[in-house]
Structure formats: structure tokens, C-alpha cells
């Protein structure tokens, strides 16, 4: 589904991504974790070309996403992206947020888009807030709408960039619940997150990153019980407060 080969990226002198290679299979749920500045957000943002790479190759569904002549907008329409700060459009209602892309990219008629958007909002528990505007919603509700908005394009893969990091603790659960359900339905997901509970329960694989490199790849069970790389051990020890 997603294939990375020798991906490199620099910010000026700073080597942000160092020879990253990885494969994510269909229906897999992969969690990327690591200390701040490890490059996890940068990595996930290269997958839909919100960030550009300086070397290497990224392929989604077998197609090189940097091939000359490729339509970046079409690429992005086929990938669902959920931001840390939600980025809902404040001048549109929750329903209109979800309908904007399908209608304007001619994926569906207004009637079909509305019906599907309502279905998705219902799926995240917010059908009753369809006509509410973002400023009338709590952080957790906004993020759930953001997930519905990303799903409205019917993407085969969903990317999550620290979806719960900007939320008050009591709202984290409702968003993770939605993500768990998505995973249960077989969605291919790559999540950058600090929520280790979610990672342990839902992830098929965990990637640990530090300083631009993937240092460890393991199943949740292996990762949490006996991490091999010393940096990963340090990370887990710090998080559990020794």
C-alpha cells in the first residue's frame, strides 16, 4: 500500500529524515512514535506531499508519488489526513466541512455528498451537530468532524498527525474511540501519536523514530515488553516515569 525507499529530507543543514525505508500493507495499522523532533510528523507529511523530500522514493498503491506529471490534488484526494489542530473551516458548518471536497472535486452530487456526510457524522457520534459551526464545538467534537471530513473522500488510507495532542485529556478518549472503530473496519492507517494505550491495543506494528531514523520496528507486544534499541528503551522508561 505505502512503500518508502531511502527517503531523505533536509531543512537547510538539518537532516530531518535519514534513509527512511518502510512498507505499510493494506489494512495495517501502523503507529509511529518517538521523542519530539524525531521527524515523525515530517515523515507522515511527506506521504501526501505537504512536505517535499530531497531523496528517495515514495509509492502509494504502486505508483511513485513524485513521478513527473502526477496530479498532486488527485493524490491528496485519495489520502485522508487528520491534523493535530483539526483545521476545520470556521466559516462552514460541520456538514458543509464534510461536503466541500466531494462536491467541488466532482466526486458526488450534492445530494449524495450530503447523505454520505450525514452518515459519517453519525458514525462519529455527531449527527445532531451537523449544522453547528466549529466555534460551537469542543476540541474533541471538532477533531471527530475532521475525521469525518477526511473520510468523506472515501480514501483507502488515513494518516493521523498527533490527532489528540491538542485536546484536553477528557476529550482524548472520544477521538481514540473513533480511530479504534476505523481500525476495526479494516482501514489502512498510519498514526503519529503519543497515546501508548491506543498503540498497544490497536496497532499491528509500531515504528520508533529518533533523529530522523526508524530505529525499531516491532509488534506492540514486543515493543512494550522488550524493546531492543537503547533509545527506544530510554523513551519507554521516560514515559512510564521510571
Amino acid at each position: 500500500m505505502i512503500q518508502l525507499d531511502g527517503v531523505n529530507k533536509w531543512y537547510g543543514q538539518y537532516h530531518a529524515l535519514v534513509d527512511v525505508s518502510e512498507h505499510v500493507a493494506k489494512n495495517e495499522v501502523v503507529v509511529v512514535c518517538g521523542p519530539s523532533g524525531s521527524g515523525k510528523s515530517t515523515l507522515i507529511r511527506t506521504l501526501n506531499r505537504l512536505e517535499e523530500i530531497d531523496g528517495g522514493r515514495i509509492a502509494i498503491d504502486g505508483r511513485d508519488i513524485h513521478a513527473p506529471g502526477i496530479d498532486v490534488n488527485a493524490l491528496r484526494a485519495g489520502i485522508g489526513f487528520v491534523f493535530q489542530h483539526f483545521n476545520l473551516f470556521p466559516h462552514l458548518s460541520a456538514l458543509e466541512n464534510c461536503m466541500l471536497a466531494p462536491v467541488n472535486l466532482k466526486r458526488a452530487s450534492k445530494v449524495e455528498s450530503r447523505a454520505y456526510a450525514m452518515e459519517l457524522l453519525d458514525g462519529v457520534g455527531l449527527a445532531h451537530k451537523a449544522d453547528a459551526y466549529p466555534h460551537e464545538l469542543s476540541g474533541g467534537q471538532q477533531q471527530r468532524v475532521a475525521i469525518a471530513r477526511a473520510l468523506a473522500m472515501r480514501p483507502p488510507v488515513m494518516l493521523f498527525d498527533e490527532p489528540t495532542s491538542a485536546l484536553d485529556p477528557e476529550m482524548v478518549g472520544e477521538v481514540l474511540g473513533v480511530m479504534r472503530r476505523l481500525a476495526g473496519q479494516g482501514m489502512t492507517m498510519v498514526c503519529v501519536t503519543h497515546e501508548m494505550g491506543f498503540a498497544r491495543d490497536v496497532a499491528d506494528r509500531i515504528l520508533f523514530m529518533s533523529e530522523g531514523r526508524i530505529l525499531e520496528r516491532a509488534t506492540p507486544e514486543d515493543f512494550f515488553t522488550h524493546p531492543t534499541h537503547p533509545r527506544a528503551q530510554q523513551f519507554l522508561a521516560d514515559r512510564s516515569g521510571r
Binding site: F83, H135, L137
Partner: protein, 240 residues
Amino acid sequence: MIELIQDYWLYFLVGQYPNGPLGGLTLTILLSAAALVLAMPLGLLLGVARVSPFRAVRWPVAALVQVVRAVPLLLVVFWAYFFLPAVTGVKTGQATTMLMTLVLFDAVYLAEIVKAGIQSLPKGQLEGARSLGLSYGQALRLVILPQALRHVSPSLVSQLVATIKATSLGYIIGLSEVSFIATQVNTLVFTKAVEVYIILAATYFILCFGLSRLAFLLERRLNRRSASAPALASVAKVSL
């Protein structure tokens, strides 16, 4: 003063109309409104160009804006009124000349207003739109500009006030706007200069101050709206 108003209020309001071209206060207001409306598309275009990621687009527009703002508006009026006809062979009337000049003047200031509005939005808005697959143009049209223009509506009203004041320069090329009419009245009556010019000042004051209050109320309403939105942690601003 009362007799003055009684005798000349119509002249003050519409100039020589219908026995001549429209003038007076009505001309002032119509000219200002028309200039602002006509300048919007140009101002939008220039504003978007000002934040363009392409240097070849950004720089010439920035240069144009800087030059137009460094030079008195009256000089632009003179260029348009005296020089342009010599080059194009078309002698434009005073009203048309003022309209053209005001459209340019407004477009340049509107460009700055639009640019500020776009840049005041969080960076995530553009990213959110593009990550859904919308093109740059669609993102601008559907997400960025609707928000940006709403945010700057008080500045748009302020620009209308500035335009109304700028129409007074038409006096110098003989346009029968309200200041010109006032001086005509003064010449006719001759002994009531103070009253005439106080009435002129009061007219402008009521119009411009009224509109400024509107801008102030708009701003207050906007601040109330955004204050109720949940506060986000450090949010990077749009640089497009």
C-alpha cells in the same frame, strides 16, 4: 445659516442635475461607492499576487504598490487628466478621470487589506484544504478568501471613508463634487463664508464619522465571534 440651507440645499445635494451633470453630495457618494466596487476585483487580484509563492508575480506588484503609495493622489489625477489624453487621444471627462484614479488608489490599498486578511489566517487552513485534494485556486476561492474578506470588513469600510475624502480632489480639476459646489455657493453669497464651510465640514463629518462607527461595530462583532472559538495552542500563520 438656515436661509443658506433653505436656498441651496438642492444644489448642494445634486449639483446642476437635471439641468446639467450630476454633482454635489450625491456625486461624491456615488463616485466613492463605484470606485470601491470596481476596485474590488483588481484589489483582490493584486492582493493574491502579493502573497504569491512566485517571485516573478510578487515583486512587480510590490513595486507598483510602493510607487503608487509614495506619490500624492493629486499627482496621479493630474497624470490621468493632462497626460493620458495626449497619449491616447481620448479626452476623458472630470468624473471619469476621478473614477479611474480612485479605482487605482483603492485597488492598491485593497491589495494590502486583502494581503493582511489572508496572512492573518492560520497556516493550517490552507493545508487542510489542500490535503483534501483541492487545488490552490479552489482552496483560495472556497476556504481562504471567504474567511479573509470577512475578517477585513472593518478595513473595507475604512477604505470607503478614505475614498469619500479623496473625491474632494476632483475640485482641483473642476469636478462638481460637494466641496466644489460649496465654493460655488460661497462665491454666489459672498458674505457667509464661515457658514458655508461649516456646513461642508459637517456634511463630511456626518457621513464619514457614521461610516467609521459602522466599521467599529463590525470589528467589535468580529472580535466577539472569534473570542468564543476554542483557543488553540501556538498556531503558525499563513505564509502561502
